[in-house]
């Protein structure tokens, strides 16, 4: 327990672990997006995907290219943009709810073919 913590501080946790996590997060997000019924849950899954990307940036920056900031900055912007997206998406979902009194993704298929 203790050495894991110290490993974390010293950064000797292998990069693959982080990438693995991010990859899992990403595809979990994708899976969520494809399978969830509620728009809100889908939104959450998207957040997962974005965050996975963010983790990547940080990790790459921290491990492979120490001494530069690009990755970190990208992450910051990424988070901000994700926030905007969520905001807009929520707004629209509310609008949907107002119109359909439901947030089921299956409901919104009036326009097709």
């Amino acid at each position: 327990m203790g050495d894991l913590f110290s490993n974390f501080l010293t950064g000797s946790v292998p990069i693959e672990a982080y990438l693995g996590v991010s990859l899992i997060m990403f595809f979990a997000g994708v899976y969520g997006f494809l399978s969830r019924k509620s728009l809100l849950m889908i939104l959450v899954s998207i957040e997962l995907m974005l965050n996975a990307a963010d983790i990547n940036f940080v990790v790459f920056n921290r491990y492979l290219y120490p001494g530069q900031m690009e990755g970190f900055f990208f992450t910051l912007f990424g988070i901000a943009i994700a926030a905007c997206e969520t905001a807009v998406a929520i707004a629209i979902i509310i609008n949907i709810y107002r119109n359909l009194t439901s947030v089921e993704v299956g409901e919104i298929d009036e326009m097709k073919e």
Partner: protein
């Protein structure tokens, strides 16, 4: 002799004039114009003939004159169609024949066609025909001949179909045109063959006897047969079409649907002998480079002649009888050419056939015009409606009789001399053929007198025509008389001094044995005819019974027409055109529409992809991404 151009041009002008004015002109005026123009050119051609035969002779050999010659269109460096005038004995002779008969017919028509609707049109067409026919005979090259050949065909089409409200007439015209057209196809291809190897259309060069012209044809063969045989054979097919040689004769009897004078002009005297003229024109070529074809022509001619003669014996429509006799006589001419050789005495057949062409034109025109005046009187073509007319129409009677005697070959009428020469030539060629031809001569005499008697003798059937028939007016009688006179004396023209195969003089001497024999045969058959038809008698019916098959099939013209009906209707229309049309509609067209159909169908099938479900969109999106990635990585 530039003025010969006028002979050709005047009819054309009168055609254009009459054609454009058409109904704006008074019928009378139109008739006068047409006839007078013909009169003028007749005079011109006589002077031309006189001048030519008297002056243009070098060392006893007639020279070929080409008073006019322009290049009309050029194909290759060698091949070019020229329009020109070629004067040599046969063309001069044809000029005379055509203008004379045409003039007579015009004159005759002025009263025969009197009161017909489209009188002006009729004369316009007559002028057109005369123009085309003259153009044909004076052609300097084979292609010019082909051009006028077609024009002749069309004018004949127009004239046969003159009564265009009469379905049978329209049908006959169509038949005549298409059959001859089919033959012309042969002619055309023949010309193509000939011209390709000889590098010329020009008669002068072709018949010059210069072997270099045909150098390139030596040893060349197309599909097994020598090229020259192909060429000349195909060209002859053209001639056979116009001259109604078997098996292309079928159009001629139907052509009798046209007005009778037209039959006299086109289908007796002039157009139908175009084929003979064509062969005569190219005679040297045939004789030297395609003798096999030439002999073929002889046999075809003989067969056609026999065939037609037999049918003529049983026809009851007088014009059709004449039509078949025409076919038979043309057969004679063809035989004459076919058996002939080149040179002074060998050229006898050639000369004889030309002679026969000349005389036949005269007496056959006479016969037709006579028949015309009969029909004019009784308003029917059927023998059964006639009989005993000699009391009412003496002139017609005597002229007709003269013509019959002539065609039967009785001395001293013109027919005797010409036919006799042909027989003589034939006997020299092959006795058997000669025998056959003599028999045909006999048949001719028989059916002609059958015709004669059943029209003018026997007791008349009044019920057929309530009013008493009367002699035709002057305008119709004059031509009859004139032609009769010609028919009587034409035989004494020293024809050999004018027309021979080698353009040199040749004195005709009667071959007594042949002469006597043929005359006796003729008289004998006339006797039979007299027995059978002068008075009412049972014999014809008995004969008919005994040879019922022959009789039946003969009166059905040996069912040749049925064969043609079968070919056109069944084969071409049902079994070629209809399937093709079907194929076009249901295969080709359907394929084109098919493309459209398939696209539509796909469009409907794949609309499921646009399901409206965001998640499915994303799913496809992701799939696309992964597929691309996979392709990029692993391919």
């Amino acid at each position: 002799m530039q003025y010969t151009l006028l002979i050709v041009l005047l009819p054309l002008i009168s055609f254009i004039f009459l054609g454009l004015m058409d109904s704006k002109l008074k019928p009378k005026v139109a008739g006068i114009i047409g006839t007078s123009v013909l009169g003028i050119i007749t005079a011109l051609s006589y002077t031309a003939a006189f001048e030519y035969f008297t002056m243009h002779k070098i060392a006893g050999v007639y020279e070929r004159l080409i008073p006019l010659h322009i290049e009309w269109v050029r194909f290759t460096e060698f091949l070019h169609i020229d329009l020109g005038i070629l004067l040599d004995p046969i063309s001069i002779m044809m000029l005379v024949v055509i203008t004379t008969v045409s003039f007579m017919v015009n004159l005759y028509s002025t009263s025969y066609m009197h009161g017909e609707k489209g009188f002006q049109r009729y004369f316009a067409f007559l002028s057109l025909f005369t123009f085309s026919m003259l153009g044909l005979v004076i052609a300097t090259n084979i292609f010019q001949m082909y051009i006028f050949w077609e024009l002749v065909g069309v004018s004949s089409y127009l004239l046969i179909g003159f009564y265009y409200t009469k379905p049978s007439a329209v049908a006959a015209a169509k038949k005549a045109f298409i059959v001859t057209r089919f033959a012309d196809l042969g002619f055309l291809v023949g010309i193509l063959f000939l011209s390709f190897y000889t590098k010329t259309f020009d008669f002068g060069i072709l018949t010059s006897g210069n072997p270099n012209v045909f150098a390139s044809t030596v040893g060349v063969s197309f599909m097994g047969l020598s090229v020259m045989s192909w060429a000349m054979g195909l060209i002859f097919i053209g001639g056979a079409g116009k001259s109604a040689m078997f098996p292309l004769q079928i159009w001629l009897p139907d052509a009798m649907e046209g007005p009778t004078p037209v039959s006299a002009l086109i289908h007796a005297a002039t157009m139908v002998v175009a084929g003979v003229y064509l062969v005569a024109r190219l005679f040297p070529v045939y004789e030297v480079y395609a003798p096999d074809v030439l002999h073929g022509i002889a046999y075809i001619g003989a067969f056609t002649s026999l065939f037609a003669a037999v049918i003529a014996c049983v026809q009851t429509d007088i014009k059709r009888v004449l039509a078949f006799s025409t076919i038979s006589q043309i057969g004679f001419m063809m035989v004459g050419l076919g058996v002939s050789g080149y040179g002074a005495h060998e050229g006898l057949g050639y000369m004889a056939s030309m002679f026969h062409l000349f005389t036949h034109a005269m007496f056959k025109a006479l016969l037709f015009l006579g028949a015309g005046s009969v029909i004019h009187a009784v308003h029917s073509n059927e023998m059964k409606d006639m009989g005993g007319l000699r009391k009412y129409m003496p002139i017609t009677n005597y002229t007709f009789l003269i013509a019959c005697l002539a065609i039967a070959g009785i001395y001293p009428f013109s027919g005797f001399f010409s036919k006799d020469e042909i027989l003589a030539a034939t006997f020299e060629f092959s006795p058997y053929l000669g025998g056959v031809m003599s028999i045909i001569a006999g048949l001719t005499a028989f059916y002609m007198f059958r015709l004669y008697y059943s029209i003018f003798w026997g007791k008349g059937h009044k019920h057929a025509h309530d009013h008493t028939p009367h002699e035709s007016p002057l305008a119709m009688s004059i031509p009859l008389i004139f032609l009769a006179v010609v028919t009587i004396f034409a035989g004494f023209i020293p024809f050999g001094h004018f027309v021979t195969s080698d353009l040199a003089n040749y004195d005709i001497h009667l071959d007594m044995t042949v002469a006597v024999m043929s005359v006796s045969i003729a008289i004998f058959s006339i006797g039979i005819a007299t027995l059978m038809y002068r008075k009412e008698s049972k014999i014809p019916n008995i004969m008919g019974k005994t040879f019922s098959h022959l009789h039946k099939s003969a009166s059905n013209r040996f069912y040749i027409d049925e064969v043609y009906i079968f070919i056109t209707k069944k084969i071409i229309f049902k079994n070629i055109s209809t399937p093709i049309a079907w194929f076009d509609k249901h295969i080709i067209d359907a394929t084109m529409d098919g493309f459209a159909g398939v696209t539509q169908w796909t469009s409907v099938k794949i609309k499921g992809f646009q399901s409206g479900q965001v998640q499915q969109y994303a799913y496809i999106f992701l799939l696309g991404t992964l597929i691309i990635a996979a392709l990029v990585l692993f391919v």
